[in-house]
């Protein structure tokens, strides 16, 4: 293990996830440093979303472990992991469609109330509304606060998911393709938002991104997955030059020719 891994907020050890004979994750060892924006890239089916699902507790790993701030979290229930400070968004957005934008975000403010027996308390207090509204303003959805989530265009739904994850007051935020299906202008705005979350709120960010330009532009460091294995790690510049990565994306012929 390299020295940098000691400062890691999140670390995986020999992480495997098999679906029958398919090795979606195959002995994955990665770490996320506190305060960085970490990009995870790789061709379709490389295991990126599976990695997110294992880290956030939605899948149990077949083998290996995940450590968050020194604590083993693999095997814990996803709700518990969320409460410990790992927020996430989904590749296909999953807002609470019939609830308003404000209610969607407030739902995550209940992170502590849902545990134990304090769930009998009133949820709509001035403090909670204020907290939720300030997050909604941060992501630029203030005008939609009282709209039901189902009427939002896709770009706004992704912002809403980020807002909802932020209401958990996460230390680590997992963003699964935050710019998929967006216009160039929206991509620009979301990229700005992600950078601001790290710079101003100090939230560590782990991001799966298909858009190579966005991923390279945002990430401090990247991992490349292919067939469930980490095939490369480094800064965006290093990744761009890495022959293994070029091969994974473009095929052997290109790699040999470059």
């Amino acid at each position: 293990m390299d020295l940098a891994a000691d400062k890691a907020i999140l670390r995986t050890e020999g992480l495997c996830k098999y679906f029958g004979g398919i090795k979606a994750l195959d002995h994955v060892n990665i770490h996320v440093r506190r305060g960085e924006i970490l990009g995870i890239i790789g061709p379709n089916g490389a295991g990126k979303t599976t990695l997110f699902n294992v880290v956030s507790g939605f899948y149990k790993p077949t083998r290996g472990a995940v450590f968050f701030m020194g604590r083993r979290i693999s095997g814990l229930h996803p709700a518990k992991i969320a409460r410990m400070g790992i927020g996430r968004t989904f590749q296909v957005t999953r807002p609470f469609k019939n609830l308003t934008v404000l209610q969607n975000v407030m739902a995550a403010c209940g992170r502590d109330a849902y545990f134990g027996l304090s769930f009998f308390r009133k949820y709509r207090t001035p403090e909670v509304v204020e907290e939720a509204m300030s997050i909604i303003e941060d992501v630029g959805l203030a005008d939609y606060a009282d709209q039901p989530a189902k009427v939002l265009p896709i770009g706004h739904m992704r912002r809403l998911e980020i807002a909802r994850a932020l209401a958990l007051r996460p230390k680590l935020l997992l963003l699964d393709e935050p710019t998929a299906g967006m216009s160039a202008k929206e991509i620009e705005e979301i990229s700005g938002l992600v950078r601001r979350l790290r710079d101003e709120k100090g939230i560590t960010i782990m991001l799966v991104e298909h858009n190579m330009r966005v991923a390279m532009g945002l990430s401090d460091r990247m991992y490349v997955l292919n067939y469930g294995k980490v095939i490369a790690e480094g800064t965006p510049e290093e990744i761009r030059e890495n022959p293994l990565v070029i091969e994974a994306y473009l095929g052997r012929g290109y790699a040999a020719g470059s």
């Binding site: 956030s56 507790g57 939605f58 229930h77 996803p78 709700a79 518990k80 969320a82 409460r83 927020g87 996430r88 989904f90 999953r94 807002p95 609470f96 469609k97 019939n98 609830l99 209610q103 407030m106 739902a107 995550a108 209940g110 992170r111 502590d112 109330a113 849902y114 545990f115 304090s118 769930f119 009998f120 308390r121 009133k122 949820y123 709509r124 909802r164 994850a165 209401a167 958990l168």
Partner: protein, 298 residues
């Protein structure tokens, strides 16, 4: 006087049903968990009260909360079983639960077999037997209590957790809602209310038998719940009143009750899945415009 009694009886029945439907509405309307076996919980409450008062000689006032408790506990069981099930599988399981419960009522002698239990005493308050308007008053008091509970639920984190589960279980977990715990609670609270209604039903009819709690009764409760408006405060009482009053007003409809319930369900599911007066339904929008948003909806 006879006509007066008729209306009092009708209103008593409507409110008893409304309590059971309110419970179903918590499980289905708020938490989104299909329950096609609510009549079983009604039966568990009714038989608990009947056995406690006729065989053990306990007072109604002790039996009433214990009926709610017994249904609540069985609700925890059904909830625990349902954790891994969704939609059609959950529907099948709850139907099966209804049939099993009815089979138990028939099989074990303590439930009185096919004749059931008769001679259930009327509740006594300050030396007075509660009947007619007085019993209606008691039922109304329990009903109001349940409405208050429902109102509190809507405003609490518990209600919020239920709604997140109804909307999207994965997203619910991502915001820290332990889906297992809250599904169990949704079934248990809904069952507990049905238990209360069951006890009131037993002491109103003064005799109970398995045939009062068969699957068809669950469908009746479901029709009421869906008709009134899922996930609303006023839905259960509105739905109960409509379904009970319609055959009273149009006598010839009586023989075709089951067809009517089925038709209502199919039409609603096709055209207004949130219920006649559910959130965002056509009628609710119109009413909102008319009333300027007074008192309707969340």
């Amino acid at each position: 006087m006879v006509v007066g009694m008729y209306y009092i009886t009708l209103m008593t029945i409507i409110l008893i049903y409304a309590i059971a439907v309110m419970g179903l509405n918590i499980t289905m309307g708020y938490a989104g968990q299909v329950n096609l076996g609510q009549a079983a919980f009604l039966g568990i409450g009714a038989f608990t009260s009947a056995i406690l008062t006729t065989k053990l000689g306990l007072s109604f006032w002790v039996a009433l909360p214990l009926s709610a408790l017994s249904a609540f506990l069985v609700g925890i069981l059904l909830g625990a079983v349902s954790i891994r099930l969704r939609y059609d599988f959950l529907a099948m399981t709850t139907i099966g639960f209804n049939f099993i419960t009815v089979a138990i009522f028939l099989y074990y002698p303590i439930f009185g077999g096919s004749f059931g239990i008769a001679g259930i005493p009327r509740p006594v308050l300050f030396g007075l037997k509660l009947r007619g308007p007085a019993y209606l008053g008691l039922v109304a008091a329990v009903f109001v209590l349940c409405v208050l509970l429902n109102l509190w639920l809507e405003r609490s984190w518990l209600g919020m957790a239920f709604e997140t589960i109804r909307e999207d279980e994965h997203a619910a977990q991502a915001v820290g809602v332990d889906v297992r715990k809250f599904k169990i609670l949704a079934f248990a609270i809904g069952a507990g209310m049905a238990g209360l209604a069951g006890s009131l039903y037993a002491h109103f009819k003064m005799c109970v038998a398995y045939s009062d709690f068969v699957f068809a009764r669950s469908i009746e409760l479901l029709s009421m719940c869906v008709l009134g408006g899922l996930g609303t405060i006023y839905g259960p009482v509105l739905g109960s009143a409509l379904i009970i009053l319609l055959p009273e007003v149009f006598r010839p409809l009586r023989a075709y009750r089951l067809i009517m319930h089925t038709a209502i369900l199919i039409l609603l599911i096709r055209f207004q899945p949130q219920g006649l007066l559910g959130r965002g339904s056509f009628l609710q929008r119109k009413l909102r415009e008319l009333l300027g948003g007074l008192g309707f909806g969340s």
